[in-house]
């Protein structure tokens, strides 16, 4: 199951990136005065919310694995050999971020290579995509492990909720692209920083969010 998600996520990311850049090229002749803002500029920035979405989809198996490991007693055994709940959590977080890189990396690289709106914009898109994508994955991973540590279902029943929260956070970037035009960069930056700050705050509260005894089956 895990490899299928990776392949699906990478393929989706590459296809989407190709489509955005094609659209940028196709709309480059539309003047800004046509009333749709600088659509060429804005379309390229769709890589920011979609890199977050690809990252979330590709890391979904990690949340399912966490609940499965809890219910087989594996987390209990890790506590018994001397790991703390923080150590256990960071193992899954590293896996989630690593998988997110596998999903987001190729699409962001492709975006840099194609750079239909210009390399400078592609570089900014890259920075914002990585900031938003990793922050979103980190935030959702904290929320889902905190919620999942209270779940007894063998499958991660809260995974759809977690993914939905993560996608919801980047939805404004999707819908406001055409309206904001060049200003979308500021929305992307503000959202990226906000998600990063939330994730960082929750990460500092891990010991309170993930109670040791909730890791037991």
């Amino acid at each position: 199951m895990g490899i299928s998600y990776v392949v699906l996520g990478v393929a989706m990311g590459l296809i989407l990136t190709g489509v955005f850049n094609y659209a940028v090229g196709a709309t480059s002749g539309i003047p800004a005065s046509a009333g749709v803002g600088n659509i060429t500029f804005a379309l390229g920035f769709l890589v920011v919310p979609f890199s977050a979405m690809v990252g979330l989809i590709i890391t979904m198996p990690i949340y399912l694995l966490f609940v499965a490991d809890k219910n087989t007693g594996l987390l209990e055994y890790l506590l018994a050999v001397g790991m703390g709940q923080r150590d256990v959590f960071w193992g899954y977080m590293k896996a989630a971020l690593g998988l997110a890189l596998v999903g987001m990396g190729p699409m962001i690289l492709l975006n840099l290579v194609l750079a239909r709106a210009g390399f400078a914009y592609a570089a900014i898109e890259t920075g914002l995509g990585l900031l938003t994508g990793f922050s979103d994955v980190a935030l959702v991973t904290v929320l889902m492990t905190a919620f999942s540590s209270m779940q007894r279902k063998p499958t991660g029943m809260n995974s759809p909720v977690g993914i939905t929260i993560g996608i919801f956070l980047v939805l404004p970037e999707l819908f406001l692209v055409a309206l904001l035009g060049p200003e979308i960069i500021w929305l992307d930056l503000a959202l990226g920083i906000a998600i990063f700050v939330c994730a960082a705050f929750l990460l500092t509260s891990i010991d309170r969010l993930i109670v040791r005894e909730k890791l037991l089956p």
Binding site: A68, G73, E76, A80, G82, R212, E213, L216
Partner: protein, 290 residues
């Protein structure tokens, strides 16, 4: 042949622990100093698993202290390395093979997967996925985690539950071989198994230790079975007593009932009903062992 005896002092002093701020164990004090098999008995909900989790360091105490050789268990991981803990679940990653799972744990806590596979005779299972193993095979693979390296104290939470008699015997043999040099604590619902292989009995009821001592000191009742039959049974089964419509006989355990009924049937008498009239385990759990 020289047998190396491992010295150990496991001490629980007024230990209380539990879940969600509610104590399940209440002021338990114990000292374990001799390599032997310590069987922890108790009804469901008595606190056996909580006791094991507390000693293993999985649960922290709300009061009291747990120490090994005078060193607090929770201060450093040094003492926790001396403990091997077998949970009542397999605690094995389902999608890994047995060998990969043991290597995984070997990387975390040190030790050799190949040594564990050889000790438990798991060569035929080593390259199978954990999810494809039967219950008994999973238990054997799970026990193998304890043999990744040497330890002094083995905690086994219901190691023989849900196992067929052959695999249960294999696990009991492992426990017996360990106990010659090491300290083994295991939990069970089976009084007969406890008395067969245990050296010491720790009886836990309502989160407290009701009895801790050698098994010979444990006083239990006998197993009573009542038989409703087509004829009088006192000549075939002397020493019994009539209680209403049942002729009641005291036997050593559940394992003797079959032979008893066979004796009645072989004499040509029809058996209408066989009923458990008294179970020493139930009495033990309600009244204690003294």
């Amino acid at each position: 042949m020289r047998v190396e005896v491992w010295n150990l002092l496991l001490k629980l002093e007024n230990v209380s622990s539990g879940y969600n701020g509610r104590d399940v164990l209440h002021s338990i004090s114990l000292e374990v100093t001799e390599p032997a098999i310590y069987v922890v008995l108790g009804p469901n909900g008595a606190g056996k698993t909580t006791l094991f989790r507390t000693v293993a360091g999985v649960l922290k105490t709300s009061s009291g202290s747990v120490s090994l050789d005078g060193k607090d268990l929770y201060t450093t991981n040094e003492m926790r390395r001396e403990i091997g803990y077998l949970t009542h679940l397999s605690a094995l990653p389902e999608e890994m093979t047995v060998r990969a799972a043991l290597n995984f744990y070997g990387e975390i806590e040190g030790g050799s997967a190949e040594k564990a596979i050889e000790t438990l005779g798991l060569s035929d299972l080593a390259d199978k996925k954990v999810s494809n193993l039967s219950q008994g095979q999973k238990k054997r693979a799970s026990v193998a985690k304890l043999f990744l390296r040497e330890r002094r104290l083995y905690l086994m939470d219901e190691p023989t539950s849900n196992l067929d008699p052959i695999v249960a015997k294999e696990v009991r043999d492992i426990i017996l071989s360990l106990s010659k040099e090491k300290f083994v604590m295991y939990s069970s619902h089976n009084l007969y198994e406890a008395k067969e292989i245990g050296d010491y009995i720790i009886l836990v009821r309502d989160g407290k230790v009701g009895f801790f001592g050698k098994k010979e000191e444990l006083r239990t009742g006998r197993y009573s079975v009542g038989i409703k039959a087509s004829a009088e049974l006192s000549k075939i089964l002397p020493g019994g007593r009539q209680e209403k419509e049942y002729y009641v006989v005291d036997v050593g355990g559940q394992q003797d009932v079959g032979a008893l009924v066979k004796k009645v049937v072989d004499s040509g008498i029809v058996v209408y009903e066989v009923k458990e009239m008294g179970n020493p385990l139930e009495d033990l759990f309600t009244e204690g062992g003294r």
